[in-house]
Amino acid sequence: MTYPVFASGDVLNASDMNAVGLWLVKTQTIGSGVSSVTVTGAFSAEYDNYKITVSGGSASTSTNLALQLGSKTSGYRTGLLYHSWANTSLAVGSTTGSSMVYAGNALTNGLYANIDVNSPFLSTNTFVSGQWNSPNDAGVSQMQTNDTTSYTAFTLLISGATITGGTIRVYGYRN
């Protein structure tokens, strides 16, 4: 067979399966009217790097999705380089943030996040990149934990609003 295209009845050889790059770790359905969602058991020694996606659902008021790792509530290095759809470039940042503020979007017509998390479980700095994509502007969001804590969980926070429905998915990049 020619990887990654398989035909019905093909034997899945170890070499083929070991070449699969992205594995679903956890799926979490978002409840009704919540202001934050914590996903436990997301990060482990199984993978060094992860992708988090959020889709579907809706927010009571359009706002940002913020990200925290474990119980860390301060000391985040975080920044967003963004542009209006009319092409004006802007930036915001902090070296003492309480979260990765602009990790995604919670809009009345849908939730959105596409976050890559590098080395959350390893005892090294954790590096996170995400995307901001709102009706008025869009950009690239970055964060460092600036510590060597090993994290297993994360929380998505909704500032001044609640969210209902939607799905959080956590994938691990094969080491």
Partner: protein, 45 residues
């Protein structure tokens, strides 16, 4: 999913459990709201 509502505090979700914030969590929530940066433009189309 289980839910619980005893006061008017915001609900939080931890995996499949949904409950109201504890005193400590609510204090942290209010502090976060107070220190939150100005929101970027989010008006829906």
């Amino acid at each position: 999913m289980s839910t619980a509502t005893e006061t008017n505090r915001p609900l939080i979700q931890i995996d499949d459990e949904i409950r109201e914030m504890t005193d400590e969590e609510y204090a942290a929530y209010l502090e976060m709201q107070a220190s939150a940066p100005p929101p970027l433009g989010q008006a829906d189309e």
